[in-house]
């Protein structure tokens, strides 16, 4: 099996391989937890005859890498015991249905914060588009777009609802159209990941709009909007430019700047 013409690794794959290898070689006999939590007990119909414990599923034949997989706990259902209905054994879904609402909200908030830190703030993983928003979600972008619309609407003195409508439509439709633009130019992005990223990059403009709403000085507004605009563009730049052919980079980036500049202008001009 002399396969010499392998495709060279993508840079983001290398970081994942490094992760796995460090796990493997750090502690040779470390027990690695299974990828998902053990399945909850299966629902069974109670029967009167005592049932012997169901055989444990055979653990997979260990490869030569010295990992010992913790075997899933044997699911024993004694007779007469009613078991809570679970799913067919794939881990978390029943827990998220029955957990307290505060836990769900806390988890989503934590994910928003972590995505924000990855995208908007400087961190060593920025140049790696595969890692940037692997755990994308749309709650963050939704919240930021609505917040920006509300802030603009609040600071407007006339036609408040129209201002909100224009801001929301421009940002939401703009994110979709920008993603389609990259796809049409022959770029490679995942649709929702890109929507999510463009939404998170609105965070600096949100802060700018908030400051402009509180202080009504034109010079200050121009300075604040300029700074936050540059910050937003800096946040979105690596992702967008990596997604297309380098000869079309400007074609993919220009609409992003156009959208942020027009939102910035709205922030300055609305008073």
């Amino acid at each position: 099996m002399s396969d010499n013409d392998t495709i060279p690794l993508h840079p983001s794959s290398q970081s994942d391989i490094d992760e796995i290898e460090s796990l493997i070689f750090a502690t040779p006999s470390a027990t690695v937890l299974p990828a998902r939590p053990p399945s909850p007990p299966r629902a069974t119909i109670p029967i009167s005859v005592p049932v012997s414990t169901s055989p444990t599923p055979p653990s997979p034949v260990p490869p030569s890498i010295p990992i010992t997989i913790v075997p899933t706990a044997p699911v024993a259902t004694a007779s007469g015991t009613r078991v809570t209905i679970g799913s067919d054994g794939f881990g978390s879904p029943p827990n998220t249905l029955t957990e307290p609402v505060w836990d769900t909200v806390k988890r989503d908030l934590a994910r928003i914060v972590s995505n924000l830190k990855l995208v908007v703030f400087p961190n060593p993983n920025r140049e790696d588009p595969g890692k940037a928003l692997r755990d994308w979600d749309l709650w963050g972008p939704f919240f930021f777009i609505v917040f920006l619309g509300l802030t603009l609407s609040w600071s407007a003195s006339v036609k408040k609802s129209e201002v909100f409508a224009v801001a929301f439509a421009v940002l939401a439709a703009g994110a979709v159209i920008l993603t389609l633009n990259v796809l049409l130019l022959g770029g490679h992005i995942i649709f929702f990941q890109s929507l999510s990223l463009l939404g998170y990059c609105l965070f600096p403009l949100d802060i700018g709009a908030l400051i402009c709403m509180l202080k009504d000085n034109v010079i200050l507004k121009i300075v604040v909007v300029g700074v936050t605009l540059a910050w937003s563009s800096w946040a979105a730049y690596p992702f967008m430019s990596a997604a297309v052919n380098p000869r079309r980079k400007a074609l993919a980036l220009y609409p992003v700047f156009l959208m942020y500049i027009s939102v910035g202008f709205l922030i300055i001009a609305i008073d």
Binding site: M1, T6, H10, K159, L184, F239, K249, L258, F265, A269
Partner: protein, 267 residues
């Protein structure tokens, strides 16, 4: 198959998470005589064979062969119209300033819709932004005490007018020419009319200057250049037919657009 580790499996180069960016080299196709490579995967092959009327690209009048039109809602059917690089787009933008530059021969092989789409979108935002700035400047000059408000209605008006003009006028000319027997290409019409709007972007920036006579001069110059561009390129397409009226109407429509921009946004 060796058993001594994962590193030597035949798929070892695929380890790792799915990256967001895939850098694949496009495999060179064995296209002979202009056959699109995708046709080689389609059975029955549709190159050089009778193509049912509904299966071709509805936007391209003449070249039905080799287009892989997968329906209105598939992105890949619109990709051929965005097959341009940055330098190509910049070149087309610059040539829209010069009316005699034979724009149609430039775009004939590769009409793009990227230009019209983003030029019209940019123009919408520029008109809304600079129109409001112009009213602000005028108000500061005339009555500094009155409070000025940003009129969001400008965005709506600009979007309706510019998008409506860019989409409907070429469409109308396309159907008119088809009625008269010619075989125009709708994509090329959209492309040309879209690029003809580019000159209004820098002129709308200049229209902020509150001197009225200067504004009219700028509008007339920009409108004149744009109309001349449209009519000279449109004439190229109408050569077979003796329809001077069509060319004149295209010219007048473009001029009317520029007058409307001045009157509505920069009053």
């Amino acid at each position: 198959m060796e058993e001594d580790g994962y590193g030597t499996l035949p798929t070892s180069h695929l380890l790792g998470s799915v990256p967001a960016v895939i850098s694949e080299e496009k495999k060179s196709s064995l296209g002979e005589g202009g056959a699109s490579p995708s046709n080689l995967n389609v059975f029955p092959p549709s190159v050089g064979v009778y193509q049912a009327p509904g299966s071709g690209n509805p936007l391209d009048g003449n070249d039905q062969s080799g287009t892989d039109w997968k329906g209105f809602f598939s992105i890949s059917s619109y990709s051929p119209f965005f097959n341009v690089d940055t330098d190509v787009v910049v070149d087309r933008l610059m040539s829209s300033f010069y009316p005699r530059s034979n724009f149609f021969s430039k775009i004939d092989a590769n009409p793009d819709l990227y230009g019209p789409l983003w030029i019209s979108t940019t123009l919408v935002f520029m008109l809304a932004a600079f129109g409001n700035t112009a009213t602000y400047v005028m108000q500061i000059k005339s009555d500094p005490t009155k409070a000025w408000n940003f009129d969001v209605g400008y965005v709506n008006w600009a979007a309706c007018v510019i998008y409506g003009y860019t989409i409907l006028v070429p469409l109308a000319f396309y159907f008119l020419l088809q009625y008269f027997g010619s075989h125009p290409s709708l994509v090329r019409f959209w492309c040309m009319w879209g690029y003809s709007l580019f000159i209004f972007i820098p002129s709308s920036l200049l229209l902020i200057i509150p001197v009225e006579i200067l504004r009219w001069i700028i509008v007339l110059l920009a409108g004149g250049a744009s109309s001349w561009f449209v009519s000279s390129n449109f004439k190229y397409y109408v050569e077979g037919i003796d329809m001077a009226a069509l060319v004149v109407s295209a010219l007048l429509l473009q001029f009317a657009l520029s007058i409307f921009i001045k009157v509505f946004f920069f009053a």
